[in-house]
Subunit: 401 residues, 2 copies
């Protein structure tokens, strides 16, 4: 197998290897889609035949995939160590099943201490691992991998920028569509998705927009928008329906994107004509609270302090009762990943983290505000990767009345 | 809680309850997205806060969701028993965390025998369940739920029909786009996705097209197409790229759809102008082998016999070496669910099952054939839900040369 100096191997692999040594792990075996992509660059799109990455301190990552995914893996991965399992056509593989292939690669476990992701690994597959590697000591390595993922590599930040640019296009198209007479939630969503897909096709020749699937056969285009109007705002998320937003209502527009596995989110509230003074007040309060929190978005700030800042902002403006349970989250390979910005967080902001910032105010029948951006923590502060202006957005009332 | 005679409760719930009694299970606790939807009708779209369904033999299903999803759940579910956990704004919930909410609902487990889905349930959450319900005996109920899901209810079949109709539109649009000069894989995929989304928006007012996400925050539009041209056919699946299919090549077109959680797949091979005789021969062989298998697609046929029939067809035509590991699979809430049509299967076809039929022939550099349909097993045979003609499809060579 290739030596550990391969130039294509990204820094995250070396970071994780160092952590493995510090935690006395002889190997890590991942089967979570986000993790196998993270450590190999390969997204098989369909996971119904599981894929694995085995990481040891002294070798490049070992990618083990079902034979059906062999050619696709070979074309996608940056690790030189690719192995196949399964039975298909006339192709030679390590073994007919993945547990047997793991035994071929790792013996009976050689009494090694091996990390597995217990927050993802299903109980059945855990038992299959125990049987395949009977002398191995399996330990939970979820926290190690999460810690590694918190800091984004340069290639990941570049992809997040693309995801954010696509989201900006999606929001522009959604707001434009909301100005068309009689446009339904669905019309607005389709206009937004179309704009993002066309922008992707035209300007990002090498970028993959597929999200990660579930183990039951997931696949997806990750360029998505939701539009929730009027009373439907309280759902928080839903497929669009054939409802036409009404004058005097606000509409929540959510745009979610993926570029090479990295997610961005961008959310805005759009007023359909003039809205009630109480709702407008909540919109301005939301923007002001965001501004107060943004001043603290800088390396060294405890994540809990961000929540505390938000809480003070809600309290001071009389919205204390409506404080949400979190006001943002880490974002990267998962659209909601790793940590929330909430009262219980023990994380501290570091350069290379990416978070959403979204202190919303939802008061049934009174106000519903929804603003979120994707924000990179930099060496000396932060950079908003999504650029669509964060302000009170009102589309002309005339066309709705 | 509401009594078990509620008229909205679909037959699958009663079927599963009968199986629970037969297997001495006092309750089942599900957290797999497909299963919670199956037993409640609610797809939260985002699963980063888990949702649960608790089923007991004598009550309607109990749906437990994070408070953030409360309004959405209330509007979507058909079960009258909805409970909330978590801390958010000023809303009252059962308990701040899901394990505490389960304890509130089920005590310490009351020494009951409770089924959990070990093929999905992560090790960490399994341990949290053990702590929340310390006197419960947890048993794997994956097989019970799979068996129940194999037979589709009338509402599921109706949704699968809609998914199949959307897939037909997607395939029509893809084949039409392949006739446009200079069309790239991406152009074809975007045309297909656009046609499906527009058809959905215009004709299926109440249908949800969201797929099921992963626990790290999944969400998606489930109307998807892939196009793999020339040498990229061997990947089996991939996001489209900016490659223009060339005269003399074949192109694999995959269309995947979801309607109210039910999936359909439709796959065709399109010849760009005239292709080599050896590839044309493989295309005809594929269609003929499908025809031979289709004669056996009737209740009572062992799934293994279908594979055996395929094997004979490959052997007889000289393609024995290229026999794929499976030639179809069950399809429903998962795009690849429950069982494969392969040599090892112990299933028997029953009315109400839905399967894909896809004996492909892939020979590197020689031929790549890709035909799949979504097929319902009926009382006296089968019905192809996808209707796009299964034949050798050739688009005009003139525009490509």
């Amino acid at each position: 197998m290739a030596n550990p100096q391969s130039s294509d191997i990204p820094p995250r692999v070396h970071r994780l290897k160092a952590q493995m040594v510090a935690h006395s792990l002889d190997a890590v075996i991942c089967m979570k889609p986000e993790s196998t992509f993270y450590l190999s660059g390969f997204n098989p799109i369909i996971y119904s035949e599981p894929i694995f990455v085995i990481l040891t301190p002294h070798l490049d990552p070992i990618l083990l995939v079902h034979v059906l995914r062999g050619k696709h893996a070979e074309a996608s991965t940056w690790t030189p160590n690719l192995f196949l399992y399964g039975t298909w056509s006339n192709i030679t593989t390590l073994a007919p099943t993945w547990p047997a292939a793991l035994t071929t690669l790792l013996g009976d476990g050689n009494s090694k201490r091996i990390g597995v992701e217990q927050e993802f690994l299903p109980v059945t597959q855990f038992h299959q691992l125990v049987q395949a590697l009977p002398t191995a000591q399996l330990a939970d390595c979820t926290a190690l991998i999460h810690q590694c993922r918190e800091l984004k590599d340069a290639d990941e930040i570049a992809s997040a920028r693309i995801a954010a640019q696509l989201a900006d296009r999606g929001m522009e198209a959604a707001v434009a569509a909301l100005q068309l007479q009689g446009a339904t939630e669905r019309d607005v969503v389709l206009a937004s998705m179309r704009a993002m897909h066309e922008d992707w096709a035209a300007h990002y020749p090498d970028v993959e927009i597929c999200d990660f699937g579930s183990l039951e056969g997931g696949y997806t285009s990750g360029l998505t928008a939701w539009v929730l109007s009027g009373p439907r705002q309280s759902f928080g998320c839903d497929n669009p329906v054939q409802r036409v937003p009404q004058a005097g209502e606000t509409v929540s527009v959510f745009v979610w994107t993926v570029a090479n596995g990295m997610h961005a989110e961008l959310e805005r509230t759009v007023c359909i004509g003039s809205v009630a003074a109480s709702e407008k007040e909540a919109l301005h309060a939301t923007l002001d609270i965001r501004g107060e929190i943004a001043l603290r978005l800088t390396p060294g700030t405890a994540v809990g302090e961000l929540y505390e800042t938000a809480k003070k902002g809600y309290d001071r403006r009389g919205y204390g009762e409506y404080l949400p349970g979190r006001i943002g989250h880490s974002i990267g390979l998962g659209p909601h990943e790793l940590f929330s910005i909430d009262a219980r967080s023990d994380r501290t902001l570091l350069p290379g983290m990416i978070v959403s910032l979204e202190p919303h105010i939802h008061i049934d029948g009174v106000a519903s505000t929804q603003y979120s951006d994707t924000i990179l923590i930099t060496e000396d502060g932060h950079e908003c990767l999504t650029r669509f202006p964060a302000r009170v957005i009102q589309v002309a009332q005339a066309i709705y009345t």
